[in-house]
Symmetry: C2
Subunit: 219 residues, 2 copies
């Protein structure tokens, strides 16, 4: 029975990757930059998106795709309140977005209208790392309060991202967090990873992140 | 094709539940209390376990089962350093423990030797809620720094637990967290849920949690 199941899984993964390539080709034809933001629950994905909207919505046509495991549109409503088009994907209990869901959202949001599309994945450090969406950059938002051991404990996520945004640095004086230990873990898995230290609460460090994103779009 | 897959999933879930019942019967025969601790990455599961060991290892024979998504034994080593037997389950990228894994760990750890077994599930607010293990209580560790909207966004987890430990209350002065909004979300999903407000860093509030756990064992 196990032997029968393996090729089925293989085909599903391949189908996802093929659809991810189709999503990317569609975005490229329209000149749209798409970034996939992943994190633990509460690390600050939505806060980072709202800060990014503040900084860039005057210069770029931004759109946001919000993935959630439940039919709760809290995050999408925050984005809409900030004046940016947003769409909510309810995974129905699923622990990650996939390329099918993104493809559907691209159509419903009319992706071609935008310069930059920000995709907020489901809050989870495990499953989202295994499913390509067809976005151009995979961004991990980590937070100081999660602890300095997370690269060691969630290696697949840290290994597969293109950018790391380390949030909540304003809380460094109030928690135990060994930055050297954290950095060594990241460096072991993903040498030279582009990293931004920020506080979405105070605004510290965010200019470098938004400059990076804007430059990525202009290329 | 969907019609063919549904009954397969059904059988897998039933098999898990059956094995969970076997695990529970085994624990009951030996008079062992087992608790399943779930949380986001970094909410403080391991810190809570270490504080619990401090408080209760003089009075109870404690054992710990550490679930992780990677072959990284950081947490199990911390428990061993605190003088308590521990075993590490590597889910190999899987996002939750299941009853098969727990059953195997019970045998390897010789579960019958203990009064209280603490199971640390994989850091994830989604998948662990869907798999019974056969433990007597499901405990959710939430943290102030994750934000006050988490009950609304992860309803299945909040609905299915028996106890909530809200950790990192020492950081309340430093973050935005609307306790009333959080509590309303919890109450809507899980009315009257036993809740402990604690700080594993300062020790505040932990006596009530450890007293609850000790009383649960003595019944």
């Amino acid at each position: 029975m196990t032997e029968e199941r393996v090729p089925i899984v293989e085909r599903i993964l391949n189908a996802n990757d093929q659809l991810a390539e189709q999503n990317k080709a569609r975005l490229d034809r329209a000149g749209v930059l798409a970034v996939n933001i992943m994190a633990s629950p509460g690390a600050g994905k939505t806060s980072l998106i709202l800060r990014t909207i503040e900084a860039l919505s005057g210069s770029f046509r931004l759109g946001v795709i919000e993935g959630d495991t439940a039919p709760v549109t809290i995050d999408a409503e925050k984005v809409l309140a900030a004046g940016v088009p947003a769409i909510h994907i309810n995974t129905g209990g699923g622990c990650h977005l996939d390329a099918v869901m993104l493809g559907d959202a691209l159509t419903r949001l009319e992706a071609e209208k935008f310069d930059i599309l920000i995709v907020e994945n489901v809050g989870n450090l495990i499953c989202p790392a295994a499913f390509k969406l067809g976005t151009h950059s995979n961004v991990l938002v980590a937070s100081i309060t999660e602890g300095d051991d997370k690269p060691y404990k969630y290696p697949k996520m840290y290994r597969n991202v293109d950018v790391l945004v380390l949030n909540k640095i304003d809380l460094l004086p109030h928690v135990q967090f060994d930055m050297d230990y954290f950095r060594r873990g990241v460096e072991m898995l993903n040498p030279g990873l582009t990293t931004f230290l920020v506080s979405c609460r105070t605004g510290e460090g965010l200019e470098r992140w938004t400059e990076w994103l804007a430059a990525r779009r202009k290329r």
